[in-house]
Symmetry: C2
Subunit: 358 residues, 2 copies
Amino acid sequence: MNARRATIADVARQAGVAASTASVVFSGKTAVSDATRSRVLAAAAELGYSGPDPRAASLRLGRSGVVGVVIGDRLRAAFRDPVTTIMLDGLAEGVAERGSGLLLLRDDESGGAALPAAPADAFVLIGCSTRLRADLEVLQRRGVPVVVMEGDAGEGIPRIRLDNRDAQAVIARHVRELGHRHVVVVALPVGGGRGTGWFDPESVSQIAVDVTRERLEGALDVFQDARVYAAGASLIDEGYSAGRAILTAPGERPTAILAQSDVLAAGIIRAVHDAGLRVPEDVSVTGFDGVSVDGVAPLTLTTMVQPAAEKGRAAGIAVSAMLEGVVPPDILLTSVFRPGNTTGPVSASVVPGASSGP
Amino acid sequence: MNARRATIADVARQAGVAASTASVVFSGKTAVSDATRSRVLAAAAELGYSGPDPRAASLRLGRSGVVGVVIGDRLRAAFRDPVTTIMLDGLAEGVAERGSGLLLLRDDESGGAALPAAPADAFVLIGCSTRLRADLEVLQRRGVPVVVMEGDAGEGIPRIRLDNRDAQAVIARHVRELGHRHVVVVALPVGGGRGTGWFDPESVSQIAVDVTRERLEGALDVFQDARVYAAGASLIDEGYSAGRAILTAPGERPTAILAQSDVLAAGIIRAVHDAGLRVPEDVSVTGFDGVSVDGVAPLTLTTMVQPAAEKGRAAGIAVSAMLEGVVPPDILLTSVFRPGNTTGPVSASVVPGASSGP
DNA sequence: TCACCCTACCGAATCGATTCGATCCTTGTC
DNA sequence: GACAAGGATCGAATCGATTCGGTAGGGTGA
């Protein structure tokens, strides 16, 4: 319709005042006489002007009211992951206090907008891939607040963390107390180009993905000789294939499988059932996260409940604080053990050396 | 550290070139000699300059590479709703082609950033509350592309819609063919200040929430005398309370309950079980959406599968088109019937007049 | 009546980058 | 050797709003 949007200068001209005066009418930063105010508003209405252009305002003000959230490789995967969505939910709540919106960004090589090119006042990273490091340095030099959840982004970047190692050790001890000795850990992706499959526990310290490494360490603290199988992603299907691979592997069948996420556990349980075995009588299964996953019912998963929403909220509050110039401390959140009925005592019928397959 | 971020002017000065030349080095819009390029890049490195400020660039260019997504009252609820997350997922994919990010905005009274103040090039609305209308008018005047999913935002705003009415009629007919005559519809929120509870089917046409109204119309097309119970939200717990209320209500117990979402259906099924009844022998239950919900297994919900991801992708493509100046047509997506085992023929044992409750 | 103060408003500078027409210099050709 | 062509670089204007120092004018108190 209009060739050009009306600007505040147009409004000011129409109202017969200076642009600065018109600006003040909208921002309310200074007193304006009622007469002038109504004249400006009338002019604005007439020209179809409706508040300042956010782009221009953000250039001048130096802030845009946007907090960037960097999510793993693909948003797809993140949205599918219940823990992430709950966390996002908390984060939205945390930043909402400042009236900020959330800008979803993906951390992929393929040149999706690079971090420093995103019009955000602050960033929250979920995990922290190494290819972000360069961008982070830039942001830090610019003085842009950044906090990282579940990852180490380097010196000076506040972290929101979970007691992954301790929590995994808690649930492992629960399993140990039930008498289990032969356990397999199904780990989240280990990164570093290593794909799906059996993983050498000796290499644990080389895992770059903090969550995976820490939980694995916790499990190994309790079961030094546990075997480890790395999944390709936190998906039910990945848990299912891991479960099949574990149950059909030669050698002694484990009496318990510790999954690093509830979603993986759900897949594993299905694999156990498909192999003609029972949970928990033949195989005990534990999860991690404490989210509801389809495919577990009517069983209740024995798991560690992590405060996902709390985590998001904490991150939101942390960036808010940083925007106010306050340096927030690192935050460590703790998980709570939730007993279910997917774990039970070792059955007497388990004969060492027996192997079961389809 | 630095009191002030380096600007392109600083870099240009350091390199001994004009700002315009330095700009071109970064944007690559014009040819630059290798010597100059490397001089500029060296200067940039030295000063810690890392690409143009997105805010300034977006002012000058008139676009920010951001698409705003307006989600219902609370992000919380939206994230919990699997349909929304899947849709968001598709939307992310749709806009990613342009390299745009997604800015999550909430549509709440409480003065979270108003739409026109958000630095986005285009907007996707999910549903369309009446209080958005004013903002929309502003955006349209500004020539900002807007598309709406599942809602009517007025003249000239492309819509991405679902065949809600037909789809609900399809599943209702399925139930009818199984012999059911006494059915209750559990509806999504009806809005307009009317809360949870029995809803007068006469008032259907007054329901402002399109999804709710259309699906309800579809059900009433088949079951003219169905009773309607409005839920407070698409949550398992809401479905559960609705189920309890329905089963304990005086009068004839329904032989089938048609829920307007899978999540509600899951809650209803639990309520049926808790009342000591069986699904589908005593009560048939249907859903809508075709997403996986916890608490249904080992049953498989009879439902209509809607192409949620497709819906999001279509919206993304539509805004992209509008940004290119093309006016996209309205898009109508269709749902597919998926039979499960939560519906079955009316049991002979159901005696008219019998009521069951705890 | 005069000095003073406060309110309301104005002008100009600024935020940082981009773009386009103009200029300068190099190279090629006759 | 002179002129044309073309590539590289520069200057200045522009995007739209905000802010701050300054000023005019009206009101108050002595």
